[in-house]
């Protein structure tokens, strides 16, 4: 009797461990269009409305807990924000004069730049978040039925939040900019120095702007914005000029200068976000399509094992 119980206990454990390993291996081995990924998307479609309802019902509870943290956080930031406000006011006055001339020149040369106006923003509510420090993802309540596609940029009122990783009909998973899968082509605002913003290794809450030219002059507090170009490993197209973060410190020791960046968007407290979708025939659509057909990008991504990600970059979901 005892032996039978022991054997059954061990058999159940072995079965569950083997099942987990089979799932793990199969999931890693298949492409983003594979069976297990499809099951996940199907599950997401079913769960999103439930999660949305639960999110609305439990919002007061979340707000109550969040209020304490927000109050403490706001008090600690007040002095610094006031100082920044004074600096920004002076900068805004100085730049207003130059802006007029810039628009005149733009019209004169018929320059048609990719900007936020080329996109159709879809407002979505964050209805879920991963508690794991290894996954910086959130679940939103808008999906392909609202025009959301894989790799669409996601922003909020503070700046860049991330990009759409998976989209189901009524929900989508967003990889935050602190996720190891995301890399954003960026530049220091007001300069031409570009690099790639990626999560800081070993720190899930901070970013690093790497691959900057050696002679780049950068100081603490400067703003980092999207450059509007595609770079490995991400190959996602973000419109230029979206605020990403502020320089917190500079690492001069590495061969390429790297800059530590603190994200402007409060990624721990996301409630409402906007997904920048594009309509067929728009400037953003044609650029995304062009980017997907670039042979160099495709080659590099395929050799890096990210073929599935690139394949969907040009055409969306």
């Amino acid at each position: 009797m005892y032996d039978k119980t022991v054997r059954r206990r061990r058999a159940v454990l072995a079965l569950l461990v083997v099942l987990s390993l089979i799932l793990l291996t199969a999931y890693f081995g298949e492409s983003a269009d594979g069976g297990l990924h499809s099951v996940q998307r199907g599950f997401l479609t079913v769960v999103s409305p439930i999660q949305e309802g639960a999110n609305k019902a439990l919002k007061p509870v979340r707000d109550l807990f969040g209020w304490f943290g927000d109050t403490l956080h706001a008090k600690s930031q007040l002095a610094e924000v006031r100082k920044q406000n004074d600096i920004l006011r002076k900068e805004a006055i100085a730049e207003r004069a130059g802006q007029h001339g810039y628009h005149e020149l733009l019209a004169l040369y018929h320059l048609d730049q990719l900007s936020l106006n080329s996109y159709h923003p879809v407002t979505a509510t964050v209805v879920g978040k991963s508690p794991n420090i290894w996954y910086s993802t959130v679940l939103i309540d808008k999906g392909t039925s609202s025009g959301v596609r894989k790799n669409d940029p996601v922003i909020n009122e503070e700046g860049l939040v991330g990009k759409v990783a998976q989209a189901a009909s009524d929900g989508a998973i967003v990889d935050l900019i602190t996720d190891s899968e995301v890399g954003v082509s960026a530049r220091i605002n007001g300069t031409n120095a570009t690099g790639v913003v990626q999560p800081k290794v070993g720190d899930p809450n901070d970013l690093v702007l790497g691959y900057l030219p050696g002679g780049t002059s950068v100081s603490r507090g400067e703003n980092i914005v999207t450059s509007g170009t595609v770079e490995p490993p991400d190959y996602s197209l973000y419109p230029p000029g979206i605020a990403i973060g502020q320089v917190s410190s500079v690492d001069e020791e590495s061969a390429f200068k790297s800059v530590n960046v603190h994200p402007l968007a409060d990624l721990h407290n996301l409630n409402i976000v906007q997904v920048l979708t594009y309509t067929q025939g728009s400037k953003a659509a044609s650029l995304t399509s062009l980017q997907g057909s670039l042979p160099s990008a495709r080659q590099t991504a395929t050799s890096g094992g990210e073929d599935s990600q690139l394949a969907s970059t040009g055409t969306g979901e």
């Binding site: 793990l24 199969a26 996940q40 420090i133 070993g202």
Partner: protein
């Protein structure tokens, strides 16, 4: 311990409610910069109350649900939670700890095992993140925060399942001795 229909239903409801509450509310309220993770605590306490087999099966189900709902690497959380649930169940079967601090200790250890296990698996799967002080800080803070919420979580899990748990003969015997009712000394 045998799995009755009533116990299975209670565990299933508990798992679904806690996982969705975790994803929808708890994960969005950081404490000391980290999110409380109720999932390993729930798995550990189900194992501690119901034994190794049910603990392992609950761990597998919770992991699968979390991986599906958050579109994470399928099977990874299941593997770790299966081992956590089994280990907590074995602790009950071998030692049957009754101290008041048991939930705190088991909750902390289960969280630590889950976080370290997750980190090791991610390293093995090729995530580019060497061990850093910040990562260790996150793990330690995660364990501390989860240890703090371990007691209320223990009460919740215990109250949810207690009505369907079969009587434990060892505990009945122990209670009898403490009251003196069936002690051979009381006959004297």
């Amino acid at each position: 311990m045998t799995l009755s229909g009533s116990l299975l239903t209670r565990i299933a409801v508990l798992v679904v409610v806690v996982v969705f509450f975790q994803i929808g509310v708890v994960s969005e309220v950081p404490v000391f910069g980290v999110a409380v993770d109720l999932s390993p605590l729930m798995v550990a306490f189900v194992g501690l109350l119901c034994g190794s087999t049910i603990g392992a099966a609950t761990g597998f189900a919770v992991g699968l649900l979390v991986d599906l709902a958050l579109v994470q690497t399928l099977g990874l959380t299941s593997l770790i939670f299966t081992l956590v649930g089994y280990w907590c169940g074995r602790l009950r079967e071998l030692r049957d700890p009754q101290a008041a601090l048991t939930p705190l200790l088991v909750g902390g250890l289960a969280t630590a095992a889950a976080l370290v296990g997750y980190s090791l698996m991610e390293f093995m799967l090729g995530v580019d993140a060497p061990v850093s002080l910040e990562l260790l800080r996150q793990i330690v803070l995660g364990v501390v925060v989860n240890t703090i919420v371990a007691v209320p979580m223990w009460i919740l899990v215990r109250r949810s399942l207690i009505g369907s748990l079969p009587p434990d003969p060892r505990r009945r015997r122990r209670r009898a001795y403490t009251t003196g009712g069936l002690s051979p000394l009381s006959k004297a």
